[in-house]
């Protein structure tokens, strides 16, 4: 009789401990997430930091043109080394980035402008791909993104729109939560978005996964008050 009762009570004890642990850890994680979201929106360094490793996410066509416009006016000696990522199916973007980097080397030494790296990533979804197969390809893309992010662990992430940046930004956010690496994530919505945010932009805005989100038209600033309106890049 004693054995049955003691088994019953130890099972109850185990269950209680397990539930308490789960609640406790979940609470800690939630607190950490709120902490990350709160501090992400605040200016980061009180005194000028050294060079910051930077991840630049390139998208097809217009996206890349805008990003290159931005990079052209940034101080490359403060953002290095630079990692350019483009979708595996995008042929032109990395090429254009190489042209930009080559022109930098012509103007200054590698010690000043830093090294650059060009990488390709699997896309979550191709334009027109069925949503069913997209689940599989998204998982592959997520795994690949995780692998790249573990290798790079950038301090700054610049992206402007294509779905390619979502897995990377999500992973960067979780790296922040887990204390693996604190990345400052900047998202510039494409100039083609005048009245509505893109799906990528909307996700990152609502989930508060980026430090700062920039829009290029005043209509978007009124609709999404936490965004920054800084005029047009093109």
């Amino acid at each position: 009789m004693d054995n049955v009762y003691s088994c019953f009570f130890s099972d109850m004890g185990f269950l209680n401990v397990a539930i308490s642990l789960i609640i406790g850890i979940s609470t800690l994680i939630m607190i950490r997430i709120f902490y990350v979201i709160y501090w992400s929106s605040k200016p980061l360094y009180s005194k000028p930091p050294g060079p910051l490793s930077t991840l630049i996410v390139l998208g097809s066509g217009g996206h890349t043109a805008e990003m290159l416009n931005l990079l052209a006016v940034m101080q490359m000696d403060r953002f290095k080394p630079r990692y350019y990522i483009a979708a595996a199916t995008d042929n032109m973007s990395l090429q254009k980035a190489r042209v930009l980097e080559d022109s930098l080397i012509k103007k200054a030494e590698v010690e000043v402008v830093g090294t650059s790296h060009f990488l390709q990533i699997y896309r979550s979804r191709e334009v027109g791909q069925s949503y069913v197969t997209s689940v599989g390809t998204t998982l592959i893309a997520l795994t690949h993104a995780l692998w790249l992010m573990i290798k790079i662990r950038p301090q700054v992430i610049l992206c402007n729109g294509p779905g390619t940046c979502i897995p990377l930004c999500v992973i960067a956010f979780f790296f922040k939560v887990l204390g693996i690496r604190w990345s400052s994530i900047f998202y510039v919505e494409s100039i083609a978005r005048v009245r509505r945010l893109s799906l990528s932009g909307l996700l990152l805005y609502k989930l508060r996964m980026v430090d700062q989100l920039f829009v290029q038209w005043p209509q978007l600033k009124s609709k999404y008050p936490r965004a920054n309106y800084v005029g047009r890049l093109m």
Binding site: P48, V73, V194, D211, Q212, W217, R232
Partner: protein, 178 residues
């Protein structure tokens, strides 16, 4: 008597571009008699169509019979030269294409492709049209837009500047030595 030299006749070229897309409805609309006549009446002499991945093939014409000369090609590694020599550009609503044309200060009619799903491209064309930087049309309304357009009403687009974004990022990261 003798040959008339092209350098003496001044050409006014209309350049139609669809970029890397398939935009048959635009090529068809441009290739209609009424649009070609409307362009001719407005003083244009040549029509050059970059038709991209489209399947509709326009009819070439030398224009010797006192009408628009028509030519076409599929792709070019760079359409910059075609844009530069054009007096009017009729293009698809891709942002790269739009801003490349506006940078060259060419009159532009942007035609929105209604067959595209999720046509967010029209937002940019409509906003720029509202600001009088270009004309906006659909393939079906292209004729009316051409007949009724007043190029003098167009306002030059001032190119944007990415410096405010860069400055914001610098301030946020504490990179300014202040």
């Amino acid at each position: 008597m003798g040959e008339s030299h092209d350098s003496v006749k001044s050409k006014r070229i209309v350049f139609v571009t669809v970029g890397t897309t398939c935009f048959d409805s635009l090529v068809r609309a441009v290739d209609t008699q009424e649009v070609r006549e409307a362009l001719f009446k407005k003083g244009y002499t040549d029509l050059v169509i970059q038709m991209g991945r489209g399947s509709y093939i326009p009819l070439r014409s030398t224009g010797e019979d006192g009408s628009l000369s028509v030519d076409y090609f599929t792709f070019s590694s760079s359409i910059a030269e075609y844009l530069k020599s054009a007096s009017l550009v009729i293009g698809h609503a891709g942002s790269g294409s739009i801003f490349e044309t506006l940078r060259l200060k060419k009159p532009l009619i942007v035609v929105v492709n209604e067959d595209l799903m999720d046509n967010h491209q029209s937002e940019l064309a409509e906003e720029l049209a509202e600001r009088n930087h270009l004309f906006c049309a659909r393939p079906q309304t292209l004729y009316q837009t051409i007949s009724g357009m007043d190029l003098g009403s167009l306002v030059a687009y001032q190119p944007g500047d990415a410096t405010p974004v860069a400055n914001f990022i610098n301030r946020f990261l504490g990179l300014n030595d202040e």
